[in-house]
């Protein structure tokens, strides 16, 4: 089975479980608090994933080592490239 099929299968199983609980399709009559907990779950998981992504990006921005030499070299190369392109007529 391909990875795509695996993911789709997993997601649809979880989706069905969520639908069963939220819309009470099996008349399970779960306690009110668990039903209250279940229905925002898809949005909650999305928000949680978004927070995790934001935190990861932020942390890696904060801990990425400064490379003084590479920065200087890059600035020099940018200047060089700009000068050459201007000579050839590109408007910046």
């Amino acid at each position: 089975m391909t990875k795509l099929l695996e993911w789709l299968l997993g997601c649809s199983l979880i989706g069905m479980a969520w639908g069963l609980v939220t819309f009470d399709l099996l008349d399970l009559q779960l306690p009110a608090q668990y039903r209250e907990l279940a229905w925002p779950m898809p949005v909650y998981l999305l928000v949680a994933f978004g927070c995790y992504s934001l935190a990861t990006v932020g942390y890696r921005v904060a801990t990425f080592n400064d490379c003084e030499d590479a920065a200087k070299e890059l600035q020099a190369q940018i200047k060089e490239a700009k000068a050459e392109l201007k000579k050839k007529g590109l408007k910046m």
Binding site: E36, Y44, A48, C51, Y52, A55, G58
Partner: protein, 83 residues
């Protein structure tokens, strides 16, 4: 380690997402199990908003992205060459 502004922005993002995650987790997961007359409920909007607000935020984000793409595409349109 990065320095100065990079560190500030980075750790600011981390702190912000931690705060957001904690508040949202309390709202969605903890509150249903807390007595309805507890004082903590006064710090949270009705439960429907825990789904509506992220939905609206996602729509606004899509609006921004779409507008940005539209503006950039419009600015880069080239007049047809006359042969």
């Amino acid at each position: 380690m990065a320095t100065g502004a990079d560190q500030a922005v980075g750790f600011g993002l981390v702190g912000f997402s931690l705060l957001l995650f904690t508040y949202y987790t309390l709202w969605v997961i903890v509150l249903p199990f807390v007595d309805s007359d507890h004082v903590i409920h006064s710090y949270f909007l009705p439960r429907e908003y825990s789904v509506i607000l992220p939905g609206v935020a996602a729509l606004i984000l899509l609006l921004f992205v779409g507008t940005f793409i539209g503006v950039v595409t419009w600015k880069n349109r080239k007049p047809k060459k006359i042969d």
